[in-house]
Subunit: 212 residues, 4 copies
DNA sequence: AATGAATGAGCATTCATTCAT
DNA sequence: TATGAATGAATGCTCATTCAT
């Protein structure tokens, strides 16, 4: 019954839902609000989606796909030196923050609302995190293989740590009114942390509990 | 009316709400569920809280206070060397992950559910992030002042970046069935990233776009 | 608009509705179900019928006509003896049960679903009962006139009583998986009751409250 | 959650539903109509019943119990002669028609509306028919055993035939404005048919297809 | 203070019906 | 003539909140 015809109509409903969910929150949004945003009858929404949750799921999937498109745009095996990887990280960071800066709703949906809808959507969000972690791990693994990253790097964990920095930045951008300046500072800070470290030159930070 | 007497009863309601909200999600939880968990009449909840949202707010505040207690347990100005700071970061990390590992509900509430309740709670969550960022910034500022951290460190931004790594770790711990092994790897990865860098020794990662 | 052309199409819609109404019940059946059964667009139904209720009315009318065809097939004035009337009752019973056995839907529609649709359809059903009662009364009246039925017979009431036996049998047949054996036993029981009585020969059953 | 406290309230809801269902039909009746009849909030209905269908089921059960109370009031083994049985049939008939005459809704619910709600309720109605048939069969079996009813009586089938006459009468009473006169004529006709037969004395009705 | 029966606002969802194509 | 996309009235049901006991 659903999954009908006109894909343009379906997309426009997702656009409206994306926007209204982000503005009012999933729970506080009625299907009538979404339909009203488009000036269509609310029954029409049910020609394209099973129910309200189904709309949320589709909104989330589309949002995650957009993020994934940025993350997967680069070739993980292409970099041959630390400098190239550094530049790559900067490019990805720029694109990602550009995405979140251009669509403030995106961050609210992905970082807050849609993960709270139900267990299934939370699980999809988690799965997306895993996928993103695997991508970052591929970059790191390439660097280790090529010899420009530490041989003893815990690649899988570090990948998640790096993603944590990135996504916290995206969350910040989402919350900020004028996100551009923050974006640049954030990328610079992340890149500096990753590639230059925080330590003053000549200082020795290795603790007795550090990586053996 | 309300805002009454027995603080022990109030705490037990918060305990129950903490647990049920995390288990079923805020939206899917009824006040009757919370009261049922305690075996009390659901009208009683309204003697201690204005409404359901008020319960959620108190649950969130208490959760954030517990996290803050860990973050603020250390003295930001006490460290005098990179090694001491490194050890301090490890200590804080351990305590934080211990907290999230001991109470899986905590992470679900803070990272997912309660931020989606309404704008006010989202704002409180954001404010807590800010507070935590200021704490971390104080550590970093101390390090710069003492000379064991880079003088050109973007302290405020880096503080948020560091917190991003930490909290992503806490989120992971929340999602994992046996969180202990993950916790140790995570802290090691974060500390290594911060203090040892990811670069192989001798490699040069400074790109042309990097911090001048 | 409507009340149009192709009578074959109209009949096929009634066939489908007859079947689906009986299978799912009137309330649970959508016009789309009826149209789906035929593989036609559901808008098409509205070219042949005013609305859903109109379809039900037509289905009911057709069902009642089919029953009436059996009831009216015999000539009420043709019988000249008790034996002939007895044989006639058996013939009508056989044909009626054959009809309900051949189309299980018929009974469900007439005895259950369509009478509950609205007051008008209930009224039509009632009117049909009246008509059938008048037919049976005609048979009885003929018997009284010819002298082979009791002169003091309450013809109108007895006609309804007889029809009650008959239609309860049809209802039973409708509910039974293998209706043939039931049919024969039923007709035999009805005929025996009418013509032989239930009393043991020689017994006296006339009570003091009986028909004076 | 339902099945709570105050049984008086529960009964009053059933009374209201009984009345409104009969007046407007099950499908056309909203829970709000039932609640409105009582001047209570419609949410209250849901404290006593799971859902609308559950109300209908309880209404039906109560209606059937009331009918059963009449049917089972007599002792099937008490009668020792045809005259006693005849008197007994008259008594049961009177009480039954009294019941349906006193509460016109009863007939509409049992003979029309509630059987069309869903398969389960139809099944309950059918089961009640079976139960009633077994009672009537017990009366007949007693008569055969005592020797005042024909030894070759098909007891089970005849029981259903007899019930068919009775219930068709109840249905008629339900439809009639002034049911008393009809009631008496009906009982007289049924009793005469059962005990006196329709045949004129001296006539011979045994057909060639009749019971051997 | 504690309770839980009662309430009704609020919303998701269905589906008969219309009408542009 | 046939279609099915679009519509929105209608309603079942939930549950936060109140308040009499």
């Amino acid at each position: 019954m659903a999954r009908t015809a006109d894909p343009h109509r379906r997309q426009s409903i997702l656009d409206a839902a994306h926007s209204v969910f982000a503005r009012k929150g999933y729970a506080a949004t009625g299907i009538a609000d979404v339909a009203g945003e488009l000036g269509i009858g609310h029954g029409t929404v049910y020609r394209y989606f099973q129910n309200k949750r189904d709309v949320a799921a589709a909104v989330l999937d589309r949002a995650l796909e957009r993020i994934a498109a940025v993350v997967t745009a680069e070739d993980a095996t292409a970099t041959r030196s630390l400098a190239e990887y550094r530049a790559q990280v900067e490019r990805i960071g720029h694109r990602l923050y550009e995405l979140f800066a251009a669509d403030r709703a995106l961050g609210r949906l992905v970082f807050h609302d849609l993960g709270a809808v139900d267990d299934d959507l939370r699980e999809r969000l988690h799965a997306a995190h895993e996928t993103f972690a695997e991508y970052t791990a591929a970059y790191l693994r390439n660097g280790v293989a090529k010899g420009f990253l530490r041989a003893d790097l815990d690649v899988d964990t570090t990948a998640r740590v790096v993603n944590g920095m990135i996504f916290e930045g995206a969350a910040q951008v989402t919350r900020t009114d004028d996100p551009r300046p923050l974006r640049d500072r954030w990328i610079r800070a992340v890149v500096a942390l990753m590639f230059d470290g925080i330590a003053q030159h000549g200082e020795l930070g290795r603790s007795e509990h550090g990586p053996g």
